[in-house]
Symmetry: C2
Subunit: 117 residues, 2 copies
């Protein structure tokens, strides 16, 4: 059905609740399902099951990986699918990105020298 694996990634990123979920997992890796629900529900009112279903979409896209510890499931963000998308798009649209490569080089040097921000 989804012959293109990028498709599920784009589809997963299309919903604001799922992007928020990724934000939360980036900031708090290893979060449990209930924890993550506590953080997202005030902004996007919905039931715990709603959150669960969004998490499943993210997992099927490979953007979230999880590991069960006892009865809690630890959730982690996985950047690999996004990087795949990025690589393909930059090679295809590279000339449209020319204006930004200097910013990226700057960021790269910041990372190398250990400077934060």
């Amino acid at each position: 059905m989804k012959q293109d694996p990028m498709n599920s990634v784009f589809a997963a990123l299309a919903h604001p609740v799922r992007r928020r979920l990724l934000d939360i997992l980036v900031g708090m890796p290893g979060c449990s399902v209930n924890d993550v629900a506590k953080y997202v529900v005030p902004q996007f009112p919905m039931s715990r099951i709603g959150v669960l279903k969004h998490l499943r979409v993210l997992e099927e896209a490979g953007l979230v990986v999880s590991q069960k510890q006892g009865r809690v499931r630890e959730l982690y963000f996985n950047a690999a699918p996004i990087q795949l998308v990025y690589d393909r798009w930059t090679s295809q649209y590279s000339r449209f990105w020319a204006a930004h490569v200097n910013d990226i080089k700057f960021l790269a040097e910041q990372e190398e020298t250990g400077h934060e921000r």
Copy 2:
């Protein structure tokens, strides 16, 4: 409804036909609606109106801009919204991109020295 302008960008990118349309416009800037339909329909069988509706979604997200010349509409890809998304995401997820910054630096130097590929 869409308080976040990034939302419409992500939503627009979520559909494979719309991503294909962007590809076509990157390769053939100034294409007409009918031309673009001729290219996309063999891959994604649908009517001209279907293509038209996808184009509208892309335009509302700012990913496509158009300009009417006589009775034909010239369509162009616009990278600005994608770059906005990219900027916000890299600043937020920068540490997850560390493994790739060297590739990006390499790409940047390729661009500077005018090397293609």
